[in-house]
Symmetry: C2
Subunit: 209 residues, 2 copies
DNA sequence: TTCTTATCGATATATATTTACCGAATGGAG
DNA sequence: CTCCATTCGGTAAATATATATCGATAAGAA
């Protein structure tokens, strides 16, 4: 009955939503039906007001004195985060990190499924890692185009990252999860999410002096 | 000759500094002596003003028309990020992710060295992963205390995270790099850096719709 | 030397994000 | 039924962060 503009949700909020989801799921498992911002805030370590504002952005509505219905709020968050639009993804780079990512159990929960991995190393090609087959990178374009894959994961060193991004983009990918330290140049309609471990480590080290 | 207050550097800035470091190192390798904000900005995709303000916070000073001396600016950033105060770290959880982390080449650059890994799985104990030995977790406290280790890395599932954090804290650790989805409760003097992959993935998925 | 251009640094503005405040609604106790 | 405590939602204030403006400075060309 309204909503001409979906209104983009801020990144800080987006990053907190999965935390709330965690808490709500745990509270649900414990048999609860409602959860208040006060309660959620205490477990995640934020202020209640922040939790309330964040939840508000997902469309969740609460009842005074009671809080939010856990079931519906979980759905609201899931919808906001896009967990229900299942996405298939490909992984490029079947080294240590790529391997670890394939074994990571949390992706399914987010609605993402890695359906193929790619590498250039002949020792890796043909292997099956956690149910995912490793193909030669030459097969990437064809497969991604044919299956309309929307997400590409780059688990490669700096020097190979940009050319791989170009490849993924040319195959029609819409989002890239970048584990390299490279700053990827991509068209505006492609989203890049950087996950440079050095960055995060640097922040930690600079804080502990 | 002054500096009564060190003035904390904002987190957004801290996260951008490693990028500048990358660029500067590459420019240096290419034989350059100076780099301007304009140039750096173009390669990392930010605005020149932002680069200038960030660099300013590290104490770097530039010359009009020329830019910043690459060598000294690299040092400024390294000092700010604490790369020169070498820290030793321990890793808890020698599974897929832990294994990948041990094989990650970027840590040394940040001044961090993982000197031991811990697990409870007898199949893993005694193994040597990338030069790091895996011990039983019972040995953690003693080793961390004795060697005054300051950083602990948690590469474990949710359910084991908090008790491991407690263990690390009791052993005197000052910073925890947390790869689990748990919100760790730690004393104020301990810094936690969260690296929940689901969070980052969620942000990406919500952006590509 | 003088002019032009690129760039810095300082100050100011704009935007984003977090936090505070307060009235209204709800459920439960007395 | 009335009162009290809790929590929500909306608005407002405070803080943090990003961007703009502008004069000054340095290097190189004319």
């Amino acid at each position: 009955m309204n909503n001409t503009t979906p209104i983009a949700i801020s990144e800080p909020t987006l990053k907190r939503l999965p935390k709330y989801l965690n808490v709500l799921e745990r509270l649900k498992e414990a048999g609860n039906k409602y959860a208040s911002c006060t309660e959620i805030a205490k477990t995640v370590g934020f202020l209640p007001i922040q939790v309330r504002k964040d939840l508000h952005q997902t469309g969740a509505v609460g009842k005074p004195k009671v809080g939010y219905t856990i079931d519906s709020t979980i759905k609201n968050i899931e919808n906001t985060l896009g967990y229900n639009n299942k996405s298939e993804a490909v992984l490029v780079g079947a080294g240590n990190l790529g391997n670890a990512l394939l074994g990571f159990p949390g992706f399914e929960r987010c609605g993402m499924k890695v359906i193929a991995a790619f590498d250039t190393d002949n020792n890796k090609i043909g292997k099956n890692l956690y149910g995912v087959t490793v193909f030669h990178i030459d097969k990437l374009i064809n497969l991604v185009e044919r299956l309309h894959i929307k997400v590409g994961i780059i688990a490669l060193p700096y020097k190979d990252a940009q050319k791989t991004a170009d490849l993924l983009v040319s195959a029609g990918i819409k989002g890239i999860w970048n584990f390299s330290s490279a700053t990827l140049k991509v068209p505006d309609n492609v989203t890049v999410q950087n996950e440079d471990l050095s960055v995060s480590l640097s922040v930690l080290l600079s804080k502990i002096r």
